[in-house]
């Protein structure tokens, strides 16, 4: 069981999907000249999408992908294509394209494919729904936490976190208890008050790296979103473990802690690092 959940986390680490915490204070995109300008959607895109010609449809989908969010006007037409039925290859392309448009108009069609028999299409649809968003998307992703495929379950858990689906926290806890490791990070992104404390309470019963993938998210949420009291409490919970891995985690948090953030929390982290530095497997003193 632990091996399975560890493996799942390892995959996520490789993919770089979960463990990068959302650094609220620093992660806001800056409007600058570095941001590429959107490629406008070619005028005949909708016509090509509705041509019935496989090559033209494929070509139009490529254009929409290039336009990304600017391709949103094509989302309804792509949704229609998916509802009429496409070959597996075109279906995959259409789903990925809808994801790139990030248009909620695509969610209804993507919802169909979230329970397609082809697991690759199902995974793609769940990932896409996390980007097209909307109430329908949340509903489908919550249901997808019970999917027979572990990959779909994990993507659904991740998607719910990225969609800020706070109503899904209860489901995510159930998923975490069912070894859906990705649920921890999403809980960390969404939890409020006692929910965050409940996540910290999983230390000892759920693998350390799984729980801390969520606690990391909690600690780096904006001060207005998660109180300093809660962060100090979580640091204390980790400190109580007194293990080498706890020390390494705390040192990692210490190293990333924004200079402008709470000095009180910083002090708690520093003290926790010192307190756990003598633990077996700890990597030495504080930074």
């Amino acid at each position: 069981m632990r091996a399975g959940i560890h493996a799942s986390v390892a995959l996520l680490l490789v993919a770089g999907v979960l463990v990068a915490p959302v650094h609220s204070a620093e992660a806001k995109p800056k409007a600058s000249a570095d941001v590429p300008r959107a490629v406008p959607l070619p005028a005949d895109t909708l016509k090509r999408l509705r041509s019935g010609d496989v090559a033209q449809v494929k070509n139009a989908l490529d254009d929409v992908r290039t336009s990304a969010k600017a391709g949103a006007p094509a989302a309804p037409a792509i949704g229609e294509l998916l509802q009429q039925g496409l070959s597996p290859t075109l279906t995959q392309a259409a789903i990925d394209t809808l994801a790139d448009t990030e248009s909620e108009a695509g969610s209804a069609s993507l919802a169909w494919y979230a329970h397609h028999r082809n697991v690759e299409l199902r995974r793609a649809a769940v990932q896409a729904l996390a980007r097209t968003r909307g109430g329908e998307a949340v509903k489908v992703l919550r249901a997808a936490l019970s999917d027979p495929d572990p990959g779909v379950r994990g993507l659904a858990a991740t998607g719910l976190g990225s969609m800020k689906a706070k109503d899904a926290v209860g489901d995510l806890f159930v998923a975490l208890d069912h070894r859906v490791a990705e649920a921890a990070a999403s809980i960390g992104q969404l939890c409020a008050g006692n929910e965050c404390d409940r996540l910290a309470g999983k230390l000892g019963s759920v693998p350390f790296d799984v729980v801390t993938s969520g606690l990391d998210q909690v600690l780096f949420r904006a001060p207005a979103d998660v109180s300093d009291d809660m962060k100090v409490k979580i640091v204390g919970r980790v400190r109580e473990l007194g293990t080498g891995e706890a020390n390494r985690f705390l040192k990692d948090v210490q190293g990333k802690w924004p200079k402008t953030w709470s000095a009180r929390v910083k002090q708690a982290i520093d003290q926790a690092v010192i307190a756990t530095s003598g633990s077996p497997g700890a990597g030495g003193g504080s930074q």
Partner: protein, 606 residues
């Protein structure tokens, strides 16, 4: 010591007893059929003699096959007797006969006290008969084929010893005449007074055993032949006989072990997989007591109708049965833990229980006069019994469970359907049984409420529902039943990726029959998603069925378009084209307008 030496030692030991030696042409195959004359004379001589009742007793072989435990049926004190055993003991009349430790011994069946012992040189016991004054015992001869017959009085004196190269069966005694089956078809009557063969009868059925029961003398192995006034016509096939009907049973059980083969003191699979019946004398000849016969299969016991072999009850026990006997009113069975149960002939319910006090290696049950009676408190309806037996997680019972499942499938009541649904849904069900359960379920035509309840379940990882219900067979059944109330449930499975391809195919086929307008959205969704991406023929077939349902519900546009679209998978497209063509309104005949006009204006005049 070599086998030949043992045989010699036996002969010497027995001869030293002072009994009459017989080395004659007994059991010769040169015998000419006398048309029943000699056996007719024997019937005239002893036919009216009362046959004493045998002991009602259970005898267990315990320890390391060196201990006998006796327990009278119907009450009485248990007894034990320590003695090494080289063969299964035999109950004959009121005597328990055993062999081992180079001797044969006889015990009082009620008390276990020793009646007599005789040295044998180590030859194992085959069978025994007793008429209250003399016990006739047969042994397997040392060193190969052949047998030894010994007749011993109550005081231990050997009154007759016969050695033969023939394999003799298990004998009976009546009026100091020994009835000895041999060669599978003969019963020779040996006059113990002089050792002569007083008569012989040729039977038309495999016979290696003779015994008294219920006041009659019987011969048999595969069936029962009664010694009565008709015995003289036995060679013409006109003796009084009764048999149990042939029917399929798990493990091919036998009714009786061959009487000319020594049984080991430790029970084997043939003791656990057995049939039991009790013959009964009737005015016309013979019949099976209570119209019931019984079978065991490890820890299952079953009761069957004597006439057609119809299953009457099945009973799941806690341990493997290793021995038993049919009685009037029921059957007494003994398990390997030393527990003895008396089961009601009619219901299989418990009429009584006994405990030998410790596990047994084998068990011998003899019932003669005891009549089992009472009202069993644990009697259950057959459907419930079958459900319990079939749902038990016991891989060793699968062969029997398959048979019982077929019995269940033949039952009309709704609860049989429920059991089939449960068996087909249970993740613990053996794969061997699962296929049968699903097939049986597909053929049900009742119990729709249980099927719909099953369809309401879906695979749900977070709720720990890790097996989809048996959608395919349920869909087949509900479709055949035209169960429109099941349509929403069937539609929900059309879109469940946890269901198998076959399940989806069957759900779609059923929806083609039962779907209503409420299912249009789901049908369109399924049709749209798979008409161009169906991964195999099952899903393609489901697409066609969904298309058929859409056409039936007057939603032909999407189907017609798919039938023309080259991206539709070929398997589905061909069939959809045919469906669309068949559904298209036929062009009116060229003169139909004229006819309509004529109808409006009245009948046409010539």
């Amino acid at each position: 010591m070599s086998r030949a030496t043992i045989g010699l030692a036996t002969a010497v030991a027995l001869a030293a007893c002072g009994g009459g030696q017989t080395r004659s042409s007994l059991f010769s195959t040169n015998w000419e059929d006398d048309g029943g004359a000699s056996i007719g004379h024997v019937w005239d001589r002893v036919g009216s003699a009362p046959i004493p009742e045998s002991a009602d007793v259970v005898v267990g072989v315990a320890g390391n096959s060196d201990k006998l435990i006796g327990s009278p049926v119907g009450g009485g004190s248990k007894w034990t007797f320590a003695h090494p055993l080289d063969a299964r003991p035999v109950v004959a009349g009121n005597v328990v006969v055993g062999s081992g430790g180079n001797e044969v011994f006889a015990l009082d069946a009620k008390t276990g006290s020793v009646l007599w012992r005789r040295p044998t040189g180590g030859i194992p016991l085959l069978g025994a008969g007793d008429d209250g004054s003399v016990t006739v015992v047969t042994f397997h001869k040392a060193g190969g084929a052949g047998s030894v017959l010994l007749a011993v009085q109550r005081d231990g004196q050997v009154v007759r010893q016969i050695e033969s190269d023939r394999p003799l069966g298990s004998p009976a005694v009546l009026g100091r005449l020994a009835f000895v089956p041999w060669a599978g078809e003969y019963v020779s009557v040996i006059d113990l007074a002089n050792g002569d063969e007083a008569a012989r009868v040729t039977l038309r059925q495999q016979t290696s055993r003779a015994w008294t029961e219920g006041g009659s003398l019987w011969f048999g192995e595969l069936g029962y032949t009664r010694f009565d006034e008709h015995i003289k016509d036995a060679s013409k096939g006109k003796a009084s006989t009764t048999n149990i009907p042939a029917r399929e049973l798990p493990g091919s059980p036998r009714l009786m072990a061959p009487g000319d083969k020594s049984l080991l003191p430790v029970a084997d699979a043939t003791d656990k997989v057995r049939m039991y019946a009790r013959p009964r004398a009737t005015e016309s000849g013979a019949a099976i007591e209570d119209d019931r016969w019984y079978a065991t299969y490890f820890r299952l016991a079953m009761g069957f109708g004597a006439e057609k072999g119809k299953l009457a009850w099945v009973r799941l026990h806690g341990a493997d049965f290793v021995g038993g006997a049919a009685a009037a009113g029921g059957v007494i069975l003994c398990d390997e833990q030393g527990k003895v149960v008396e089961l009601d002939a009619k219901t299989g319910g418990t009429l009584g229980e006994m405990d030998l006090g410790e596990p047994v290696k084998s068990c011998v049950v003899n019932v003669d006069a005891q009549h089992l009676s009472g009202t069993p408190e644990d009697a259950k309806p057959l459907t419930q019994q079958l459900s319990e037996a079939v749902r038990t997680d016991a891989p060793e019972l699968v062969s029997a469970q398959k048979l019982l499942l077929r019995e269940l499938a033949g039952m009309e009541d709704d609860t049989a359907t429920k059991t089939l649904v449960d068996v087909a849904s249970d993740p613990r069900t053996s794969p061997d049984l699962l296929g049968d359960a699903r097939a049986a379920l597909a053929n049900r035509r009742n119990g729709a409420q249980y099927m719909e309840a099953a369809l309401a379940r879906h695979y749900d990882f977070l709720k720990d529902v890790l097996r989809a219900p048996p959608v395919g067979p349920i869909a087949e059944a509900l479709g055949a039943m035209k169960q429109k109330s099941a349509a929403p449930l069937l539609a929900s499975h059309l879109l469940d990726p946890a269901d198998t391809d076959d399940d989806v195919k069957q759900a779609a086929a059923a929806l083609a029959v039962v779907a209503g307008p409420e299912q249009l959205a789901t049908l369109r969704e399924f049709f749209g998603m798979y008409r161009a991406s169906a991964p195999n023929d099952d899903i393609s077939t489901a697409v066609v069925s969904a298309g058929q349902a859409l056409l039936t519900l007057d939603d032909s546009g999407v189907v017609a378009a798919a039938a023309k679209d080259e991206t539709t998978v070929p398997f589905a497209r061909e069939r959809l084209e045919a469906l669309v063509a068949a559904a298209a309104p036929r062009p009116p005949p060229p003169d139909s307008g004229k006819k309509k006009k004529q109808q409006k204006t009245g009948p046409a005049t010539p």
